[in-house]
């Protein structure tokens, strides 16, 4: 009976927007959880977002907050940190909204996006290297691959 009440209670709690759904950032969570300090931290911060620590200020991932880097590169960092899995899938499949967003944050022009998609698809294994590659390594590899491409090098210099 008690269980049932709880089950009923659970069922009636929809639009309180209760997000106790465990680590929730896709492949990043699947593969990198506990292996990369930064990713775990970001994950912890994002999953606690709607529980308690609500913030009205800016959260990382949408705007630059790191003084050392340019605004866009920092935003790209944050976005990649939080969307590793989706970016990875988009790279492997040759396009998609998450990769499109990353390209936008890296300042890649419309005319070079096709190249960006193609180059990242061809170099997927180099960029992600292995199943437990951390997001920092991913970004480093991505930048070095862009560096060696004629039309993409201008975006990472």
């Amino acid at each position: 009976m008690k269980k049932l009440i709880i089950a009923t209670a659970l069922a009636v709690t929809p639009f309180l927007s209760y997000a106790d759904t465990g680590p929730g950032c896709g492949w990043g969570a699947i593969l990198f959880e506990g292996k990369d300090g930064l990713v775990s931290n970001v994950l912890a911060a994002t999953t606690n977002g709607t529980l308690g620590n609500q913030t009205f200020g800016m959260t990382s991932g949408t705007a630059g907050c790191d003084g050392e880097k340019t605004v866009t590169m920092s935003a790209a960092d944050d976005f990649l940190n939080n969307n590793m899995e989706k970016v990875a899938k988009d790279m492997a499949t040759g396009g998609g909204e998450s990769l499109e967003t990353l390209a936008g944050l890296l300042g890649i022009n419309e005319s070079d996006k096709g190249t960006f998609f193609k180059v990242t698809q061809q170099n997927f294994v180099k960029i992600f290297n292995q199943a437990d590659t951390g997001s920092k390594q991913v970004l480093t590899s991505l930048k070095s691959i862009m560096q060696s491409d004629e039309s993409l090098s201008k975006y990472v210099s």
Partner: protein
């Protein structure tokens, strides 16, 4: 005439100037201003129950300058004007929207705002750089009918170089601020009765997508609003005013969707969105109100992970599907030999969907994540070597948008006959959808009724009885296929008048059941359940009765006709013991989304007695 207007304008301006200098108050025009709709909206004032006064729905006293401002629009307006004139410290950081509004009404001197600043607010606005707003409505998710209520939030689309990058725009979200230690029962209880403070927060939109699209598998509707720059600024300033207020979050009334309505009322002068939602604010109903108020200019559909998988599986042939299932279940290595038999494009499709299904499962069952890591990586690596892009057809948005379905309140009147005894029925259900209601925009096989009240007049008793009061009634028929094997479930909880062998008893009953469902066609489903039932009532043997038994069902849902046939047997083995058999047919003819005509025929066997019941009901949705 023109000159006269101009002259009166000068006189008006001059008189305002004089007032400002003297700090005297112009009581007649202030009174008018204090009860103008915009001032009432800015401070969330609503008429009191008897309609002779106003009180604010924001209970936090920090939202007001005066002790009695909560109940007194006039006093609060006068105090705000004084505070502006006195350059009160921190004023712009506390109430920027109402200050700007008072200024726009020319109630203070044009230069009165020169010394009122709030650098934090300026930099906040500059960072967000709002250019347009999108109302985001995540629809119901699979196997969770309660999520049909949905949630709404606002996406703030920036106007700078992040333009067209909706994933990295901001989401303005209002939710109950829940403490993690609470167990779920108290969560529900507190949530309904305002036990948690509501809190506004801003998060990157991609976080919300992860939450809704990937974890909860809810399709998302995005309604781009047609607010102009000035209206958007006013909305943002008002959100800023609300950011620190602590207001109880009420599940049914002052919830996420209601708060968004108040923000929109502040943004656009002259619209009334909140009045119809004082008793309940169900997100889909509020979305409909926003669309009806001509606030929407464009609508987009963002399918969830589960919808994408489901739709794409339908486009595969049998050979591909068999291979997908093998690869999903194998979970260790790619079957390159079998893959090679397919075309490059087919290979890409099989690998992608295998990956998507595994990822979907990893969200559902976090414990399998580690086992999948290497394999999912290998899948993507293999996919990256196939030079085929856009291998899938587009996913079409459902024909019926979220706000196009029937409204959530239902009133029914009807006639019936039970063993030759004529009956009249009056039924009312404030929310939300049952399996036989007009199906447009609702999830097939999902039902949730709240507070269903049934009054019955019986000829032989010659009086009106409360024959049934259902607190909650949920059915979730979730079809199984090769890829997904969900458990369907249901629960019903409420009071009921029950006919026993020689007497009638009022019982409090709870009836949970679990089962499986399979689609018989695109719009019909077969289901088999094992139900259990516990009844408590003074007139029952030992005051209770407990039973268990199977139910078989067939459900058909079309735009014109819905039908349900059920066979049920239940053995009550404890307390009041007996066996009950029931066969029923229910047909609903949908006239449109506002009205539906329903016929129920049931035959029951209990205590070696057969009885029949026929009813005909007309349902209105409003």
């Amino acid at each position: 005439m023109k000159r006269f207007t101009l002259l009166s304008f000068y006189i008006l301006a001059l008189s305002h100037y004089l007032i400002d200098v003297s700090h005297a108050s112009d009581s007649a025009s202030d009174r008018q201003l204090a009860y103008s709709q915009q001032w009432l909206n800015l401070l969330h004032y609503k008429p009191t129950f008897f309609g002779n006064n106003y009180t604010s729905q924001i209970e936090d006293r920090r939202f007001f300058l005066t002790d009695d401002g909560h109940n007194n629009p006039e006093l609060e307006l006068a105090a705000t004007i004084d505070a502006i004139n006195q350059n009160q410290k921190n004023l712009m950081c506390r109430f920027p929207a109402r200050i700007k509004w008072i200024h726009a009404q020319k109630r203070v001197h044009a230069s009165a705002l020169d010394n009122l600043t709030c650098p934090e607010l300026d930099s906040w606005l500059k960072t967000i750089n709002p250019a347009s707003l999108t109302l985001v409505f995540p629809a119901a998710y699979l196997n969770s009918p309660s999520s049909m209520f949905g949630h709404t939030l606002l996406r703030i689309n920036p106007g700078d170089n992040r333009k067209n990058l909706s994933l990295v725009s901001y989401a303005l979200n209002y939710a109950a601020n829940v403490s993690e230690v609470d167990n779920n029962f108290f969560f529900a209880f507190n949530g309904i009765f305002g036990g948690y403070p509501g809190a506004l927060s801003i998060v990157p939109y991609y976080e919300k997508i992860t939450e809704y699209s990937d974890i909860e598998n809810r399709d998302i509707w995005e309604y781009e609003l047609n607010l102009d720059k000035q209206e958007i600024t006013q909305l943002m300033l008002h959100a800023w005013e609300l950011k620190t207020t602590r207001t109880p979050y009420y599940f049914f009334t002052q919830n996420c969707s209601y708060l968004l309505l108040t923000l929109l009322e502040v943004a656009r002068a002259g619209i009334d969105l909140t009045s119809p939602f004082q008793i309940k604010a169900i997100p889909s109903d509020t979305v409909r109100a926003i669309v009806d108020a001509n606030l929407v200019k464009d609508i987009k559909f963002r399918p969830s992970s589960a919808t994408i998988i489901e739709q794409r599986l339908l486009t595969l042939n049998k050979e591909q599907r068999t291979l997908v299932n093998a690869m999903v279940n194998n979970r260790t290595k790619l079957d390159q030999l079998k893959l090679n038999r397919l075309s490059k494009k087919s290979q890409a499709q099989v690998i992608e969907i295998t990956y998507d299904i595994l990822r979907y499962r990893a969200f559902a069952t976090p414990s399998i994540r580690d086992q999948h890591a290497q394999y999912t990586f290998d899948l993507l690596a293999a996919r990256s070597t196939i030079n085929e892009n856009n291998v899938w057809p587009d996913i079409d948005a459902p024909e019926h948008r979220a706000e196009k379905g029937h409204k959530s309140s239902r009133l029914a009147i009807g006639i019936g006959e039970h063993e030759g005894n004529k009956q009249l029925f009056l039924k009312f259900r404030p929310a939300y959808h049952d399996i036989l209601d007009p199906p447009q925009s609702y999830q097939f096989g999902a039902q949730i009724n709240f507070l269903d009240i049934n009054l019955t007049y019986s000829e032989n008793e010659d009086r009106i009885n409360l024959s049934q009061l259902t607190f909650i009634d949920i059915v979730s028929l979730s079809p199984r296929n090769d890829t997904f094997q969900p458990i369907s479930w249901k629960v019903n909880f409420g009071f009921e008048k029950k006919a026993l062998k020689t007497r009638r008893a009022d019982v409090l009953q709870v009836t949970p059941g679990f089962g499986v469902a399979h689609k018989a066609s695109q719009n019909s489903m077969l289901s088999a359940f094992l139900d259990s039932r516990l009844e408590i009532g003074r007139k029952l043997e030992n005051k209770h009765s407990a039973g268990i038994g199977p139910t078989l069902g067939y459900l058909l849902n079309t735009e014109r006709l819905s039908a349900q046939f059920q066979l049920n047997a239940m053995r009550f083995f404890a307390g009041e013991t007996f066996t009950h058999y029931r066969a029923s047919a229910e047909l609903a003819f949908h006239i449109n989304t506002h009205a539906s005509f329903r016929i129920n025929i049931a035959r029951e066997a209990t205590f070696d007695r057969y009885t029949s019941q026929h009813t005909a009901l007309i349902n209105w949705y409003f």
